[in-house]
């Protein structure tokens, strides 16, 4: 099987998508790592849906159980930050005030549907803020492994897992590739170093256009 980027390198590639001044919400898991790889000249404002705009790095010292991000990690509060309630936080998210959300994924479809909250065989599940972020953020980037642990594609013609939201994903960054969701379907934009276009196509369960592909710059 083709070997791809580490989770850290996926996060690094996602970080390159962020622009100075953007308001960004990072989902739990892999997306959280994106904060560690922001270029020095890029200052984004991080929103945590539990009620912080303007948090910084995860901190180890001076633990304060009331100052945490949505993943429960204690975080620094930066100058200019604000605290607010959950209804205010989701008014911000659902009202279109978040520029970019980065979420993890279980499956993405050819038209940009996202499934990321429930593995049907496992049942139960946790939605959290994912449906609101997928629906409300102006741009949604999904950061995930290209294949399941069993080697099956996560990018499919149609999602087989229950959806988080329809037609919401704009960009998919995986260990193998960067894929843009366009009105004409999925366009392969970049391949990871050492990975061929043919290999990405073989590991993807939906048609990909491949006319303007370059190697990822890391």
């Amino acid at each position: 099987m083709v070997s791809g980027l580490s989770r850290e390198l996926i996060a690094l590639r996602v970080a390159r998508e962020l622009r100075d001044g953007q308001v960004v919400n990072l989902g739990i898991g892999l997306p959280t790592l994106v904060a560690n790889f922001l270029p020095a000249r890029v200052r984004v404002v991080l929103q945590a849906e539990n009620g912080i705009l303007g948090y910084g790095a995860v901190k180890d010292a001076d633990y304060d159980q009331d100052v945490i991000n949505a993943g429960g990690q204690p975080v620094e509060i930066l100058a200019g930050a604000s605290f607010f309630s959950s209804d205010q936080s989701f008014a911000m998210i659902r009202g279109g005030h978040i520029d970019v959300a980065v979420l993890g994924g279980l499956q993405v479809s050819a038209r940009g549907d996202l499934a990321n909250w429930l593995v049907p065989a496992r049942g139960g599940g946790s939605i959290g803020g994912a449906m609101d972020l997928a629906t409300g953020a102006r741009r949604l980037i999904v950061a995930m492994e290209h294949r399941t642990r069993g080697g099956h594609p996560r990018i499919l013609a149609h999602c087989t897992y229950p959806l988080t939201a329809e037609r919401c994903v704009k960009l998919i960054v995986t260990d193998l590739a960067v894929i843009e969701v366009t009105t004409d379907g999925l366009a392969l934009r970049e391949v990871a170093p050492g990975v061929s276009v043919a290999e990405v196509v073989a590991q993807t369960g939906a048609p990909l256009t491949t006319d303007a592909v370059r190697e990822m710059h890391l």
Binding site: Y63, R122, I127, T164
Partner: protein
Amino acid sequence: MFGGFVSAGTPTNLIRALARTGVSGLTGIANNIGLGDELDILNERRQLATFIASFAIRASGGRRSCFEELYRQGLVALELVPQGTLAERIRAGGAGIPAFYTKTGVGTPVADGKEVRELDGERYLMETALTADYALLKAHQADTFGNLTYRGAGRNFNVPMATAARTVIVEVDEIVEVGTLDPELIVTPGVYVDRIVRCATVPVRWEQ
């Protein structure tokens, strides 16, 4: 209703006090249950019949909570709600708004059985308000009228829940005389609050 978001603003003392009463057949509403939170003691004592939450069962598997065990045995019912919809349903409940439309959940299992309305060419789901008999909440300071301030990200669900329950009980770090708190800095006006209890904060360390 139980305020709090994982470790922040969680009314741990009030949850423990509720566990001691042993009342059962409760319907609970909170952002999260079964992720290692204090609310799981209500499952250990089989006090909950139904729970409404946005986080309930770890998607990644791993350590099972008592809530998850009971849920899988069909001994507790779960209504999983998107977090923004949960917050807004509670806000609406407190503001006398019986229902509202939102895009969140369209085309997902959350839409099952709900009215879908097209407005300006977009599809929206109708979601209904949530209210409760009691809200158990955590704030930082209260004055004797019930005006509340909070610490950090401790506002979360405490703020909308304070408006949406018939009897609102709040544990606080400190109770002060009326006139002590700066009116400019009060987050929850005292009109919403029925009882205040001064408690030492129970340390909660969140395990990932």
